[in-house]
């Protein structure tokens, strides 16, 4: 009995507690990301944004959530009922499980696995299923077109994301996310982070994650001018809310991955006295928030891409460029004998 408690029960309880400690702040972050987005967009467009519900609009996300929660879930008659309901759950779950390997601080990670980067790549490549299944199961024209667009778009941009990750891995010599952050530590502070030596790859990665999360200017799967609301057209109530939560959690996740790969994770920009007193998780949060600001900035600034331009950018610009950069990086590391052990 004691053995059962020590070997199975206690670790399970600890892991469950850790999962709660990640998921709850994440969901709160998602809720407030919607407010952040609306406030930032409003300021960029010289409006006030939500300012009625609660002080400074702070309760707006809760009001939105409560509204969605009390709406009726409508399942279309012709829909494939089981898949129609599974699709939003799949999107939401996939956006949560990827957080298992993200290191928030040194040692502050749920699963410090050897193949962390591959795990993230695998989970993000699964994200397309939620959208495709939703579009197909709705049994409706606009969602289906949105789903097809989304499948093509996400598969295209995953290729360049893969090459960018390989470039970073070549410089690190490990697939472990903690190792990736630690290898960016050095005397030069923020100039040691990979966004400096791999600057073009940083830009490619950021644009690719915009496309991967179906955000502006690549939000063709839900282009309202052509497709009503794309794959979400037939969804209402909590099913819609799950898609929404999943999309925003994915934005935060992708910003987190970008932070770990290029912006030094939890490391302070300069390793001197007042800056390194601040806990690493705060630095991680600041960097993620800065990247999310760019997500919103892009949304408020750029018009939507045309579909052929989107495909051209992915296959004819990013793919060859990132492939060449992989070869160049590998060649540089070998030529100057800088290959990590």
């Amino acid at each position: 009995m004691v053995e059962f408690w020590d070997v199975y029960a206690l670790p399970t309880i600890i892991i469950l507690a850790k999962i709660l400690a990640i998921v709850l702040p994440l969901l709160i972050a998602v809720a407030y990301l919607t407010l952040y987005e609306r406030k930032v967009m409003a300021l960029m467009q010289l409006r006030k944004g939500p300012n009625v519900v609660g002080f400074y609009g702070l309760l707006q996300p809760l009001a939105d959530g409560a509204k969605l929660f009390f709406k009726e879930t409508v399942v279309p008659t012709g829909a494939n009922k089981a898949l129609f309901l599974i699709a939003p759950m799949l999107t939401f779950i996939l956006s949560l499980i990827a957080w298992a390997v993200i290191p928030f601080d040194e040692g502050m990670v749920l699963a410090d696995i050897n193949v962390g980067v591959l795990y993230l790549f695998a989970i993000s490549s699964l994200g397309v299923y939620g959208i495709v299944v939703a579009g197909w199961a709705s049994n409706s024209r606009y969602p289906f077109l949105g789903a097809l667009r989304s499948a093509a778009q996400m598969v295209s941009y995953e290729v360049s994301i893969g090459f960018v990750m390989i470039t970073v891995l070549l410089c690190v010599g490990s697939l472990n996310l903690t190792d990736i952050v630690m290898s960016q530590k050095g005397g030069l502070g923020l100039f040691n982070w990979y966004f400096v030596p791999l600057f073009p790859m940083f830009i490619i990665f950021f644009v690719s994650i915009l496309a991967e999360t179906n955000r502006h200017p690549f939000d063709l799967p839900e282009a309202e001018a052509e497709l009503v609301a794309g794959y979400q057209t037939e969804y209402s109530s909590m099913a819609f809310a799950l898609f929404f939560l999943g999309e925003y959690a994915n934005m935060i996740l992708m910003s987190g991955i970008c932070t770990v790969l290029f912006l030094g994770g939890w490391l302070p920009p300069v390793d001197i006295a007042p800056l390194n007193w601040i806990p690493g998780i705060i630095w991680f949060g600041i960097k993620v928030a800065a990247l999310l600001f760019v997500f919103i900035w892009v949304r408020a600034t750029l018009p939507r891409y045309r579909y052929d331009q989107l495909m051209r950018l992915g296959w004819k610009v990013f793919l060859p460029f990132s492939l060449i950069w992989v070869v160049l990086t590998a060649g540089f590391l070998v030529a100057f004998d800088m290959v990590p052990a």
Partner: protein
Amino acid sequence: MIVATLAFYLFAAITVASAFMVIASKNPVHSVLFLILAFFNSAALFVLLGAEFLAMILVVVYVGAVAVLFLFVVMMLDINFTALRQGFLQYLPIGGLIGIILLIELLLVVGGWTLAPEAVTAGFEPVKGVAGATNTEQIGSILYTNYVYLFQAAGMILLVAMIGAIVLTHRQRPGVRKQVIADQVYRRPEDSMAVRKVEPGQGI
């Protein structure tokens, strides 16, 4: 240990069941989704074996890329599958016969299979001298050291297959107007616009 065993039976049972559903389900989209479930559980089995690199590659390549394209195609097919199933009973005897022959062949091969005695021990440490390395490094060092020519040959075969597929499906249609991005970028306002000052009440 008992948890690992239970997990194995769970994943193995789901793999077999979903593999059966791939051929049994009426709707082809459901078949593809069950196939994805089978891939996923096979990846879980790899994780149980300690082969986490293979597990992740299985998910990335098969679930993330191959099955997406598969689903893409199956969703767009417009075939009456009830009509396709009409000959089921008619073809059952010959299909079953082929299945039984394959099963017997497999049993003969696997039944007569003996591992070389040194291979059994080599399995515990596939690459000499890198014990303790992660299996990503082990696969990398064995693949790019001992089998580099075979690896290159596999790459060449895939390249040829890809070019072949493109050549076979590519057709040049006359009269298609393509986007020339450079022309669009270098277009100047003066070439395509005339700015006129229009006096009130006069028109051009």
